[in-house]
Subunit: 551 residues, 2 copies
Amino acid sequence: MPTPGKDLDRLAAYHRLQELSRTPHDLTAAGGLAPERLARYRCRAAGIDLLYATQRVDDTVLDGLQALADESGVIDQFLSMKQGAVLNRIEGFASENRQVLHTACRDIFSPQPLAPEASQQARDELAKLRVFLSELDNQTLRNGKGETFTDLVHIGIGGSDLGPRALSIAMAAYRLPQRRVHFISNVDPDDAHAVLQGLDLSRTLVNVVSKSGTTLETLTNEELARAAFTNAGLDPNRHFLAVTGTGSPMDNPDRYLRSFYMFDYIGGRYSATSMVGAVMLGFALGYDAVIEILRGANDMDRAAEERDIRKNPPLLLALLCVWNHNLLGCETVAVLPYSQALLRFPAHLQQCEMESNGKSITRNGDPLRYASGPILWGEPGTNGQHAFYQLIHQGTALVPTEFIGFRHSQYGQDILIKETTSQEKLLANLLAQSLALATGQENDNPNQRFSGNRPSSVLIADRLDPYSLGALLALYEAKIVMQGFLWNINSFDQEGVQLGKVLANRLLAHMAGRSKDPNYDGSETDRAGWALLKAAGMLGDREPRGKGQSS
Amino acid sequence: MPTPGKDLDRLAAYHRLQELSRTPHDLTAAGGLAPERLARYRCRAAGIDLLYATQRVDDTVLDGLQALADESGVIDQFLSMKQGAVLNRIEGFASENRQVLHTACRDIFSPQPLAPEASQQARDELAKLRVFLSELDNQTLRNGKGETFTDLVHIGIGGSDLGPRALSIAMAAYRLPQRRVHFISNVDPDDAHAVLQGLDLSRTLVNVVSKSGTTLETLTNEELARAAFTNAGLDPNRHFLAVTGTGSPMDNPDRYLRSFYMFDYIGGRYSATSMVGAVMLGFALGYDAVIEILRGANDMDRAAEERDIRKNPPLLLALLCVWNHNLLGCETVAVLPYSQALLRFPAHLQQCEMESNGKSITRNGDPLRYASGPILWGEPGTNGQHAFYQLIHQGTALVPTEFIGFRHSQYGQDILIKETTSQEKLLANLLAQSLALATGQENDNPNQRFSGNRPSSVLIADRLDPYSLGALLALYEAKIVMQGFLWNINSFDQEGVQLGKVLANRLLAHMAGRSKDPNYDGSETDRAGWALLKAAGMLGDREPRGKGQSS
């Protein structure tokens, strides 16, 4: 097994950067944003340009960041990850001890993939998916009445929901005619009901996604959905698909029309390009579009191996994050896509970043002496300009921003008003924000003064299509993983979600106890939990809870 | 005009709180979360309970926060706001100089409203809305073919979009049969196209919302939508509604089937309960539901006048925000509703909080010496538990959280699994998170250790219905306004959005110039802007931009 990297504050390059961070590049100075700088501070991979002239870095800082990347061995670690090293572990303590091979499931275009076994498993599942989709297309697979399937309900949560949902919304423009997809994730019963009530279940497939096959929310929603099919006189086993780990409680092909597999070397938040996303996307967009997403992702995965930080967009973004977060002291990062189709992309990245890097110990189990993962948030522009941008421009907090844009629209349906198209207005606004944040503006009225020196990056591609979406997703996945290497943390586990689960089960036991026996009292065994239930009015002392309909 | 308040750091109570903040209440200590504390640290208004035992405060700190509220005169300022004081201003500098009367548009249930003129204007518009809706209901208002209207497209952005959209999604369970609403906000042409392509325009109304009547995105989308109607052989003037300020360029009843008015004393981000939200909500839910939303909001507005902080949920939440943000040093706040119907509620609050309080100067125009508005973000639970909660539990950043939950589901369609309903699972998870964050947990494995002392509040009501939604909205509006009073900032303007607009227009002029004349060169007049367009590949040196279809 590989040795974990060094802690960030043990790297000589980090101390050099700390010195440099006392006088970061002044974007508001005369010549602070010179044309030569704007032309030179950009790099490109897999069709995506990264413009970073509006970051508070100069060539000296970039050299320092290059030294940081070299000294921490981030690219070596990235390569060893792709080759199957057991990087999901904490040295010297019980941990998941798994490989991290989400990149393998798109490393399917070369005769010599970096992790041959995992890539072969990916190819096998894709072959099954291709057969399934072609049976849907050529109508050999139909419902009990001989009709085609028109709708698919995707049931999952967390990594089995946010990524697939973000990609599905992003690709709505490419949907096959007569194919619609829907999502249920929350244990909130209203979520499932709102989706199911509008569907013709006889022509609906349900895709249940859970690696462990034990996810409370997903199994609860599967039961709710199965009950709806049964109540409609339909056999759920002929409508339900499974995406799960081999050997999980859900790995029971008798209960499913088809079963697809995911593997323990792919974490949920990195699983969008595995069967977790591919089954739903294949139904909605067709097989070829799925392959294009994988091709874009794989091209970016390859580009991310580059050691020169000025030629490697994900690595450079990761280093700029460390610069802004650890050295300039910014606690958050905002991802702001100028594309309504990327509406839910920030929510997916939020999960991917914060679940990966929201950690407090190193890969050796020592407490961190520096900040790890930032809080990532964001909404599409230009909407955000009419909302929270006020704070980004004039607030007391410094928010580094990552803008995402596309030169062309998806539908090509546009309108010329005042000599420019809507797409041009969209892009002009994106670029103008980047400029305004950087340069600021003096004014005699203090309320109309902009301090500037607020850092941003711009990611721009030609069009949001399956290929560029795959590349963009892989860019962020690589960035997040590389940040974890720089912080020397394990970006692949999520122990922080466990305590809440344990306490929820304890509270549920009280609720179940109380509903069986009105004299049940949990105050002896669980003083705080019982008192909290009582304070929340959940013990019937305010009004009955109402059990709804039971199955 | 009223004198602005005192700066936060000029208040004696603030200095006392600074001392207390060195040893905040330890929630992880034995007895740190005693049943007596859980029972006592809660308050209630308009059907909403606020539980705050899991905040790092004790009675001494609460007394200090009470002194802070008293000394800053926050309730007096709130009352004078509701009575029509000109609070949207910066003393001694050019500013908007407007009243702030969003509360007046729900102060319609009393014979003696606090701001009679504004409340009368609200009543007049409601009366017009009632007539319009009854004409739709009794089918005296129909389309050219004599059919009823089934769909309404709401076009707005920022305050004219996020609030209405959040409320619409929240109330989907209460929609009238055969009524659907849709939203277009982004200048992204794909946004408009994706909505319009699925509709039977002949049975569709379009509600165009812009106070100024000059919002670029909204007017562009109106033109796109009008072109779609014209192309379908329909007269847009018989399908389009306007919500705008009197005298705005959109105040032209000839072009609209109906016009409703908003007034300059209501800022966009506070306008959801004015006609900005009411027209769309009335179409979707009926007039009575709109009145119930207003009733809930008004009841909370009244409760917010209470001077005892322990009996005033919005005031207490505002003070706890100052405690966590200014005194314990937390940069963000997460709003986490355990209700899928509140999916977009955090995005609305994000706007309301960050556009209101993301400021750097006091109401006297002096630079702030303390942090103003936090970054507000959030997603529904339990989904978030499978995503970013990892960082909230175990990250290096401290994130105060505000949980929102309901004792009953909206649809009442539930399922018993392992003796509890889904709704109970949802609530158990919410409360368990609050407990887990507070108490933490020791463990020999450092990766399974939870430090605890991570503060949270719980807002809980019986059911998410029009009344409680109105109350919840008003609770947050009051909280945000009160925070602004405490920071002594103007929470009602948004000068920070101006610079980006100016620069966007400059870039658009370059694009228009270039499309008319391939030799156009903006590098002389605008070195940085022109170079940025070039670096972004927007000047045709990489490939043609593709103008899409022009009108």
